[in-house]
């Protein structure tokens, strides 16, 4: 039965590849010849591909859950002792499975795009389907012919011309790194972000091919950009949470190349989501927006290439294989296609408007984009610098946290400043009076905060500036909500009712402010890093260590053992002002199948600070426990910021009154155009 399901999965994957190739040809041909029936068959092929890839994924899950170690992929990433949910998550724990999973998400996105555009954007859809199918075909090509998850283990016996199948008794198990709850959801969410950026890219390429560059496609693209942007953002934060809790080094962001690879497209997409407002309202920055959409997707492919090829050192080395040349060729192809289309359509992307004043919302968008892109470039530069030096000087150089922090902290602070200033500037021109009215209170609040911090002895420059700017930005956002709510109260609404109606009457604007609040919370969390403390100590039972206002006593070290791992657990009593407030259980595990050790951090978290305890190991000479304890202020605000970010983006995605009105007008017009066609 297992072999039958495995063969069926392989057949589905191969058939999906053939259908995807067909979808490329028929969609482009249908678009070129204006043959609607051909385009419709391409759309049906996309749906069939989705069905087939779904069957492939389910058959692979079936193999994992039933321990079919005859398959190389299952034997390398699963074992009998693993709980079922990690076997389920093992699909994206290895190279082959994660590429199939990637392809599955892409096929689901493709079907959604096709279904939602059955009656609109019809002139673009042939090319949208064609581009999406190109990307799907690439992944299916890699899966079918280079990294096939259904490849079997074979043994070449002396005298035998071919390998004979071999089934090991047990598998290697999932990487110990990945056996953590967040890792069951972090990769799917992050992949949804990465993959989702394909759809805006497809719309952009389709708009360039057809030269149909009016407002409709950009409105559609903005929404398609926002969904993966949300997923990518949440995925990045979940990755940070995983790094914080699993890696046991006391931090949440290590500027690892793979972390950088996920951040770069997110930054480019953030820049687009700001500058697209300029295009929608003023008909400006059309070329720039196009560049941003194309770059976002290309950075996703570049990031995947970095992750998978192993050309840079990373803690994410669990998913490497020699598929780098395929990704680099695909990247080159996509860059060439994008550049050609963009350069040949520049005349259709001219700005329609002029700028009335330097002190205006328009200028703030320009600076916002510059800063976001500068940050992205700095990260890109740091990530590829080792590759460049190795290529040019034949000597590898490492770029680690000191570079990224020194370059990105000032850039980030300037961006935070713009987050406060930008929304308060008026479109076209901001008068001096308006500047005074809008900025007096926030500036005052920021100065008072600075004075208070200074009086209380805060001297860490960047953290202080960051917290002052957080207060400034928060004050500007609160002032915006307050002004709007007050205006509505004149119509007899209560304050809370006014806030609610205000937000949902203009979801884009106020949802955007909520996202800005999330950014403030994130920066509050980042500012805390300036005050981190840590103590490392060898400890025996009954011994204590002091950190901040806490005293931690090691009571004992307990042993645990199960089929999956053996572990040592330190029982640490936490006292504050002589009073027992908690018992923390930092753990050190040893996963038997892979012979990999991991740390399980014990955390006591509050809004003020995290008490973070790691059992680092045991001293070789005396075998006393080595405890590494960190006191990380304000870290919780990062995770709170993540939740607020989700809320704000969801609010932005809810169509407001204006958008609903536009849709009502657009629907009959589209229907009329379709009827005429």
């Amino acid at each position: 039965m297992l072999a039958l399901v495995s063969d069926f999965g392989q057949f589905c994957m191969l058939f999906a590849f053939c259908l995807s190739c067909y979808a490329i040809v028929s969609s482009f041909l249908g678009g070129r010849l204006g043959n609607r029936r051909l385009v419709e068959t391409a759309e049906r092929a996309v749906m069939a591909v989705c069905g087939l890839v779904t069957l492939t994924v389910f058959s692979l899950w079936y193999q994992l859950l039933n321990d079919n170690f005859n398959l190389q992929f299952v034997a390398a990433n699963s074992n009998r002792a693993m709980p079922w949910f990690y076997k389920f998550g093992a699909l994206w724990g290895g190279q082959e499975g994660s590429l199939v999973f990637w392809c599955w998400i892409l096929s689901l996105f493709s079907v959604t795009a096709v279904v939602l555009n059955l009656k609109k954007n019809r002139n673009l859809m042939p090319y949208v389907v064609g581009v999406i199918s190109m990307v799907t075909t690439f992944f299916l090509l890699v899966n079918n012919f280079v990294a096939n998850p259904f490849d079997m283990i074979g043994v070449i016996r002396p005298g035998s011309p071919a390998a004979t199948p071999f089934t090991p008794m047990d598998g290697n198990g999932l990487s110990a790194l990945l056996q953590y709850w967040a890792m069951v959801i972090h990769p799917p969410i992050l992949y949804t972000g990465y993959v989702g950026f394909t759809i805006p890219f497809a719309f952009a390429v389709a708009a360039l091919i057809t030269r149909d560059l009016d407002e409709e496609w950009i409105r559609t693209t903005r929404r398609w950009m926002m969904v993966p942007w949300l997923f990518q953002g949440v995925g990045i934060l979940l990755g940070a949470k995983w790094a914080y809790v699993v890696l046991g080094w006391g931090g949440y962001w290590g500027w690892d190349p793979v972390e950088n690879a996920s951040l770069m497209p997110w930054l480019a997409a953030t820049a687009f989501l700001h500058s697209v407002i300029m295009q929608e309202r003023k008909g400006m920055m059309k070329v720039w927006n196009m560049v941003l959409i194309l770059s976002t997707f290309l950075l996703c492919i570049f990031g995947t290439f970095l992750t998978r090829s192993g050309i840079v050192s990373s803690v994410h080395s669990f998913a490497q294989s020699p598929i780098g040349p395929f990704f680099s060729s695909f990247l080159f192809l996509m860059i060439s296609l994008s550049a050609y289309l963009l350069l040949t359509r520049l005349d259709a992307l001219k700005s329609e408007n002029r700028l009335d004043s330097v002190v205006s919302r328009e200028s703030s968008f320009l600076f916002n984009n510059l800063i976001l892109l500068a940050s992205m470039f700095a990260i890109l530069w740091g990530t590829i610098f080792p590759i460049i030096t190795e290529y040019l000087q034949n000597e590898k150089r490492t770029v680690s946290a000191p570079f990224y922090n020194k370059v990105n902290i000032p850039i980030g602070l300037f961006l935070l400043f713009l987050t406060g200033v930008g929304p308060l500037l008026a479109w076209r021109k901001t008068s001096t009076q308006s500047l005074k009215r809008n900025f007096t209170m926030p500036t005052l609040a920021a100065f008072i905060t600075g004075a208070v911090f200074f009086a209380f002895g805060m001297r860490h420059f960047y953290s202080m500036v960051c917290l002052i700017l957080c207060v400034f930005v928060m004050a500007t956002i609160i002032a915006e909500f307050h002004r709007g709510a007050n205006a509505r109260r004149r119509q007899g609404e209560s304050y809370l009712e006014a806030l609610w109606i205000l937000t949902f009457r203009n979801t884009r604007r106020y949802g955007g402010y909520i996202v800005h609040i999330a950014m403030v919370f994130l920066f509050v969390g980042f500012a805390g890093a300036g005050f981190n403390q840590d103590v490392q100590k060898e400890m025996g039972p009954g011994e204590s260590l002091e950190i901040g206002s806490y005293s931690l006593t090691l009571e004992q070290v307990k042993n645990k053992d199960n089929a999956n791992y053996a572990s040592a657990v330190a029982v640490m009593k936490v006292y504050q002002n002589g009073k027992l407030i908690d018992t923390l259980l930092p753990e050190r595990r040893f996963y038997k199948a892979r012979e990999e050790p991991t740390t399980e951090v014990a955390l006591r978290s509050s809004l003020k600070e995290d008490l973070y305890v790691v059992l680092s190991g045991f001293t070789p000479s005396t075998s006393r426990a080595v405890m590494h304890t960190f006191l990380n202020p304000l870290v919780s605000w990062i995770w709170i910021g993540g939740l607020v970010f989700m809320l704000g983006t969801v609010v932005c995605l809810i169509p407001d009154r204006h958008e609903k009105a536009m849709q009502k007008v657009a629907a009959p017009v589209e229907a009329e155009e379709l009827a005429k066609a």
């Binding site: 931090g251 510059l370 150089r397 946290a401 570079f403 075998s623 590494h628």
Partner: protein
């Protein structure tokens, strides 16, 4: 010898549990040396800041507390040895670069630092010229241009609705 010593001392942590001792002995016998940890004095931590750990974590040597890291402890021990010999920070850096190559340094050379700021400066200049060009551009009749670019179906509908209103 080392493992026996570890087990003997562990039984001091957890006295009176023979079965546990056997289990722990078996577990520790399987555990690689990465289970060992060592506390270094603050001056070693400070002196290890210019270096990057070699366990593929990309962390500074002073910060790497990664599980499975097999390089942080030997490198820190080496730094401790240099400090005991009275070597300065620069001498330690030179010794490490001579032994491990430039790849051991956590900070890249000056060219890496300059580039992002050079790009940012170029971007600022570019934005300045863009703003200047856009503010000097002759005002177009935006309303007329948008109406002209409006699809026929929209324009017909708008005119019909305006007529109905009128």
């Amino acid at each position: 010898m080392k493992l026996r010593s570890v087990v003997r001392n562990h039984s001091r942590i957890l006295p009176g549990c023979k079965a546990w001792n056997v289990l722990l002995w078996l577990a520790l016998a399987m555990w690689p040396s990465t289970q060992f940890a060592q506390v270094f004095p603050p001056e070693v931590k400070k002196a290890s800041e210019p270096f990057v750990c070699q366990c593929r974590c990309n962390h500074q040597l002073s910060a790497c507390d990664m599980f499975g890291c097999g390089s942080a402890i030997p490198l820190r021990e080496e730094i401790q040895g240099h400090l005991k010999q009275g070597k300065s920070q620069q001498q330690i850096i030179d010794a490490f670069v001579a032994k491990y190559g430039q790849n051991i340094l956590s900070a890249p050379p000056k060219s890496a630092w300059v580039t992002p700021f050079a790009v940012l400066s170029c971007g600022l200049i570019l934005v300045f010229f863009v703003i200047k060009a856009w503010t000097q551009r002759k005002p177009k009749l935006a309303a007329v241009s948008s109406a002209a670019s409006m699809p026929d179906a929209y324009r017909d509908r708008m005119e019909k609705e305006l007529k109905d209103l009128g």
